[in-house]
């Protein structure tokens, strides 16, 4: 099996898992799905610089050179992904606190509105 096949199928499996989780109804699986999708996309960007063996991303007069730019892009994407994941976790917790339900619609399926802490008090 070639390296290309391994990377491509790996990206495919992680993306599929991520999409499945994003389509779930609870916020926690959705957050996990977003993270997985982010990982798959990061590897995809990395692979777009082509897959190299024995090549450094440093320009030299002789020898093979891996493309350094996708590696720089992926670093940026990782940092942004980390920040947004942190935010969405906090938002999901806050939404759970506010609506009393961890469903993405803010209420349990079948109920028009969920029970809130205020109602219970």
């Amino acid at each position: 099996m070639s390296l290309e096949f391994l990377v491509a199928s790996g990206i495919g499996v992680v993306t599929a898992t991520g999409i499945y989780l994003i389509l779930r109804g609870r916020t926690w699986p959705v957050v996990l799905g977003l993270s997985l999708l982010g990982y798959a996309v990061n590897v995809f960007i990395f692979a777009m610089g082509r897959l190299w063996q024995d090549a450094a991303p440093i320009l030299s007069a002789t020898g093979r050179v891996a493309d350094p730019l996708p590696q720089a892009l992926v670093l940026t994407a990782i940092v942004i992904g980390f920040a947004t994941t942190g935010f969405v976790v906090e938002l999901a917790l806050r939404s759970r606190h506010e609506s009393g339900s961890d469903h993405v619609d803010g209420h349990e399926p079948g109920h028009r509105t969920g029970k809130t802490r205020d109602d219970a008090a």
């Binding site: 960007i45 940026t76 947004t84 938002l91 999901a92 803010g106």
Partner: protein, 546 residues
């Protein structure tokens, strides 16, 4: 000192619309925001408002100056860190960028003034997030690099996530979760599109891309088109076109009035990106990949108009009605872009200025009206009469007539220009019938809303409610509304400007020369250190050094 300031102003002007909100936001963050009760009548709140207002006013001056410079046809290229394109990131200010900047700050000033009338104290860090949003929006408009566009998208989105839930409440968090998850998925898709485009061409600089895409073979061009279409999905989600507009009414109706008004510019960031990528980079000169979005944009735009207007007809609250009108106006703009002629693009740009201003004004107006209707709020059902029926009625009439496109208001002029530019194209039947029929339907929807709000009132039981309205809020809304009237008065010079902007966008050679001049302009060789697929280093031949 003044020389130093002058040097900054003249040399670094293109980057100031990004840096000014960044530093303002940082300063506001350091000043702190206790929120809640601590805010009432606090000196700190007054200082925050003062700094914030001073900053947007300065920003408006900068944007005005940039637009004046761009109006004479100057393409300002600002290499960040002194690295020439395509190796470094450049900011490019052409007529379109300058116009979008001016539009952003034109909305920001009255909206911030409105927000300083009370909304900014009902939560923490409103001003900080407002300036981060301005930074992201301006950055997206001035950058000349696609990856940088992605980064500024993230900046403006993160700020918008926080602003959307400003004021708290269950409804806002529910809309917030949907909005954030959708936009995070879109960001992932954006990266996929960017990666494909980079993988095929080896560059993400917009000027360089426009050159490279013309040299691609049929197979590579197909891959490039795939990447560009993935990006169209992302931009379409931001711009809210069919079938990706479903998030917008819920989110905008749940947001506080000043936030929703400021969000009116955010859909235009998506539209702007569509113009940059699909009408310019993938324009006529793009070889095998040319006009990849042509079969899609026009039909999608027209269907968006229809869906938006139907939504407006069915809306049960005033905020949702205005949200759906936002969708319809974006559809009209995208249809104009989808005609792919300079005349239609120019008309779409004029219509974009108008619709952004008037939609922002309407969002503010919704809250003014709702605050005087007691418990009924902005729901479209008979309620007690408002306290200022004449003033609010005239404002509603003005905004509605402009959005529906009645002469002599700018909405009419914009739609007329789009119809005129479509007259000579094969698509004129579809464009004419959709735009005209939906205009009538918009009028019906707004007439229904207006009749319920101002005429179909319950007998007044006691004093009308004055709560929530102040002279400042009314003046800010009135200011934004009258700005949209200025568009009608100044229609001739503005149309000349958008005509020139469309012509400038079509001139790919001049753009490449301005941006890539230091590395040889259109004659520049590949920037990759190796041949695609091989890995052998190609060093530039002697004498090739720029």
């Amino acid at each position: 000192m003044s020389e130093f300031l002058n040097a900054i102003f003249s040399t670094h002007l293109p980057v100031l619309p990004v840096l000014l909100p960044l530093f303002t936001a940082a300063a506001l963050l350091l000043m702190g925001d206790e929120g809640g009760e601590a805010n009432h009548g606090s000196k700190l709140l007054q200082r925050r408002r003062l700094l914030s207002m001073a900053s947007v006013l300065l920003g408006a001056v900068l944007a005005g100056r940039l637009m004046a410079e761009a109006a004479v046809g100057t393409l300002t290229v600002y290499p960040l860190g002194g690295w020439p394109a395509p190796f470094g990131i450049v900011l490019v200010i052409d007529r379109l960028s300058a116009m979008m900047l001016a539009l952003t700050w034109t909305i920001a000033v009255p909206v911030l003034w409105y927000a300083a009338g009370g909304w900014d104290a009902r939560g923490r860090h409103f001003h900080t997030m407002f300036h981060f949003l301005l930074m992201g929006v301006s950055g997206a408009f001035v950058t000349g690099d696609l990856f940088n566009l992605f980064v500024f998208f993230e900046v403006l989105l993160l700020a918008s996530y926080v602003l959307l839930v400003h004021g708290q409440g269950r409804e806002r968090f529910k809309a917030g979760v949907h909005y954030v998850v959708l936009n995070l998925v879109a960001s992932a898709l954006f990266l996929v599109g960017l990666a494909i485009v980079y993988g095929v061409t080896g560059t993400l600089n917009m000027a360089d891309l426009a050159l490279r895409v013309g040299q691609l073979g049929p197979q590579e061009a197909a891959l490039f088109k795939a990447g560009a279409m993935v990006m169209l999905v992302v931009f379409g989600l931001k711009a809210a076109i069919v079938p990706l507009y479903l998030w917008l009414p819920g989110a905008y109706a749940a947001a506080t009035a000043p936030v929703a008004a400021m969000f009116a510019i955010m859909t235009k960031v998506g539209v702007y990106s569509i113009i940059r990528v699909h009408a310019v980079i993938l324009g006529d000169g793009a070889g095998h990949a040319a006009l990849a979005a042509e079969p899609w944009l026009l039909p999608v735009g027209l269907v968006t108009v229809v869906m938006g207007v139907l939504g407006a007809l069915a809306a049960h609250s005033l905020a949702r009605l205005v949200s759906y009108l936002t969708v319809a106006s974006v559809g009209t703009i995208v249809a104009g872009i989808g005609l792919f002629t300079p005349a239609a693009l120019s008309a779409a740009l004029y219509y974009m200025m108008h619709s952004t201003l008037v939609v922002a004004a309407l969002f503010l107006l919704v809250e003014l009206v709702a605050s005087q209707r007691g418990a009924a709020g902005d729901r479209l059902q008979p309620a007690a009469p408002v306290a200022q029926p004449v003033l609010l009625g005239i404002m509603t009439l003005l905004g509605s007539a402009s959005v529906a496109g009645l002469p002599p208001l700018p909405g009419f002029l914009g739609k007329l220009m789009i119809l005129e530019s479509a007259a000579l194209t094969p698509a004129h039947v579809g464009v004419w019938s959709v735009v005209l029929v939906t205009s009538v339907l918009t009028m019906v929807g707004l007439a229904r809303a207006g009749a319920i709000l101002f005429w179909n009132v319950l007998p007044a039981g006691g004093q009308p409610v004055h709560g929530g309205t102040s002279a400042r809020l009314t003046l800010a809304t009135l200011g934004l509304l009258s700005l949209s009237l200025v568009l009608a008065v100044a229609a001739s010079p503005l149309k000349r400007y958008t005509d020139a902007a469309a012509a400038q966008l079509a001139d790919r050679a001049a753009y490449a020369k301005a941006v890539l001049g230091p590395v040889g302009g259109a004659a520049a060789q590949t920037t990759r250190p190796y041949r695609a697929g091989e890995g052998e280093v190609i060093l530039p031949a002697k004498g090739d050094t720029p």
